[in-house]
């Protein structure tokens, strides 16, 4: 009986320590973005990998999301005779929710998993130790540029997602299904305000940080073997996705 309690106690203590390490990892990554030596080259490289190279995927998913919104939106609104509200509905859903969330999930799947695997593999082959012995801080060199690049890229990718999605919704809702064209964009102009766009923007900023933080952490703490790296990659994607969706709820409840 005592042993069960001991085990439970050990598990709880381990979990709390791990959580603490997790948060400290983010704090040190953020602080190191401000500390010298400054390496803009590293940031630019990560902006390319996380931001520019995700362009096509985010655009593609944005297009399909907008198209399905146009389809579903039209079918539902027609029951109430409110086809003219299609533009508003598509744009609100995208700008407030689906834009930041789906763009973040796509970046997780693509760039986040790659980061976790790359850093995990570097740990397994002692490359991170090599950096340390050369008096280069590995968190500053590997993690800070990625976190910063995530924070900078994701709002921009979200904007792209939103715009392409709205056009997709127009193409299907108006072009294919026959919803009225004028009210589509007029509705958007009248009903979407800076508050809605700001909501999506803040979410994207936070998601960008969360995705890179979680994926880099999992890679950094991967067990130093092949199964360790694959485990870290899986855990990184799963944890990032869960945190994005959970945090989305909390942010929405605060910002709405």
């Amino acid at each position: 009986m005592v042993r069960i309690i001991e085990r439970l106690g050990e598990a709880v203590i381990e979990a709390v320590v791990a959580l603490g390490n997790f948060v400290l990892f983010l704090l040190s990554a953020l602080l190191y973005t401000l500390a010298p030596p400054y390496k803009p080259r590293l940031l630019i490289r990560q902006l390319r990998t996380i931001g520019a190279e995700s362009f096509f995927l985010v655009g593609l998913i944005g297009l399909f999301t907008g198209m399905v919104l146009g389809l579903q939106g039209y079918n539902t609104l027609r029951r109430f005779g409110s086809e003219g509200a299609l533009g508003t509905v598509v744009a609100l859903v995208l700008v407030r929710e689906l834009g930041p969330v789906l763009a973040a999930l796509m970046v997780t799947a693509r760039a986040g998993s790659a980061m976790a695997a790359e850093i995990g593999a570097m740990q397994a082959t002692e490359q991170v130790d090599a950096l340390t012995v050369m008096a280069i801080n590995p968190v500053q060199y590997l993690v800070s540029p990625r976190v910063l690049a995530g924070v900078l890229s994701l709002p921009l990718l979200t904007c792209m997602f939103d715009v392409i999605g709205i056009w997709g919704g127009y193409a299907v809702g108006v072009g294919l299904m026959g919803a009225p064209s004028g009210p589509f964009f007029n509705g958007i102009a009248q009903n979407i305000g800076s508050h809605d766009i700001a909501t999506g923007f803040y979410k994207a900023l936070v998601f960008g940080m969360v995705v890179m933080w979680v994926c880099c952490y999992k890679g950094y703490h991967a067990a130093r073997m092949a199964t360790g790296v694959s485990r870290a990659t899986t855990d990184a994607v799963v944890l990032s996705s869960v945190l994005i969706l959970a945090w989305d709820y909390f942010m929405t409840s605060i910002l709405l």
């Binding site: 030596p37 082959t125 002692e126 490359q127 130790d129 090599a130 012995v133 050369m134 008096a135 280069i136």
Partner: protein, 268 residues
């Protein structure tokens, strides 16, 4: 306690170093002196703590107890900035090379200069070409680590370790996994660079007895302690039972049989 004879005293002094991992006492009171401008080789059976000891010397790990004095400075007392200053003196060769696989040989070797110095690109290129020719890798600059053989990877890693002209070179099993010819070539390379640059070198190795040919001092490690030190001749003449079994490759009690130790040297 600082050593006043920093120019003549040993490069590294270890006193009563202890380190535990979970329930296991991996380092159990290690004492070691690594003389300046000589090659000190640490040998011992698998699992005796050699690599953990080396990781304490290159400051990747911190001990639970004990003292490490490098060039007269007690590093166990230092904060992170002080430790970074001491690290500037090191060049480290990791067991598998630890080359950055997304970079070419040139970029790998140039890396310490690019990141830590203000040299121009031309100056860096000149130094990189010079060191690559010294390790016998001319013409390989644009290759990537995955395109190199094990021996070439080690030589690239050695070039990277030497490019900032360190005063202390550390090597973690530099010849493990190489065939005898390559082993001899790497040993020869370590000796020639050590002599050319006047380095103090600490090497952990399994390749007994070949490594004795390039060692000035040998330290035999067993179950977390250094049981035997001395010059190669002194150590080979010693009556230490554990060392003799280690050389003979006999499994005895807590030791593992080391696959490469087939040569019986006890009778010599």
């Amino acid at each position: 306690m600082t050593d006043n004879g920093t120019r003549d005293g040993p490069a590294i002094v270890v006193r009563d170093l202890r380190r535990r991992f979970g329930r296991q006492q991996v380092l159990d009171g290690v004492d070691l002196d690594c003389p300046r401008r000589q090659i000190t080789t640490i040998v011992g059976p698998s699992g005796c703590g050699k690599t953990v000891l080396l990781k304490h010397l290159n400051l990747l790990l911190r001990p639970d107890f004990g003292q490490i004095v490098i060039d007269g400075v007690d590093v166990t007392r230092l904060g992170s900035r002080g430790i970074d200053a001491v690290r500037e003196k090191f060049g480290m060769l990791f067991q598998a090379g630890a080359l950055f696989d997304s970079m070419s040989v040139f970029d790998n070797v140039a890396f310490p200069l690019v990141e830590k110095t203000n040299l121009t690109r031309k100056q860096i290129a000149a130094r990189v070409y010079e060191i690559l020719s010294q390790v016998g890798l001319e013409g390989m600059e644009q290759k990537f680590p995955s395109e190199l053989s094990g021996g070439m990877q080690k030589r690239t890693a050695l070039a990277r370790a030497l490019i900032r002209r360190p005063s202390i070179l550390m090597l973690d099993e530099p010849t493990t996994g190489l065939d005898p010819t390559r082993t001899a070539a790497i040993h020869e390379l370590v000796r020639s660079t050590q002599q050319r640059f006047g380095l103090s070198a600490v090497m952990v190795s399994h390749d007994v007895p070949q490594v004795f040919e390039v060692s000035d001092r040998v330290a035999f490690m067993h179950l977390g302690k250094i049981e035997l030190t001395g010059s190669v001749a002194e150590v080979m003449a010693s009556a230490n039972e554990n060392f003799k079994s280690f050389l003979a490759g006999r499994a005895s009690g807590e030791e593992e049989r080391v696959a490469s130790q087939v040569i019986a040297t006890v009778g010599r």
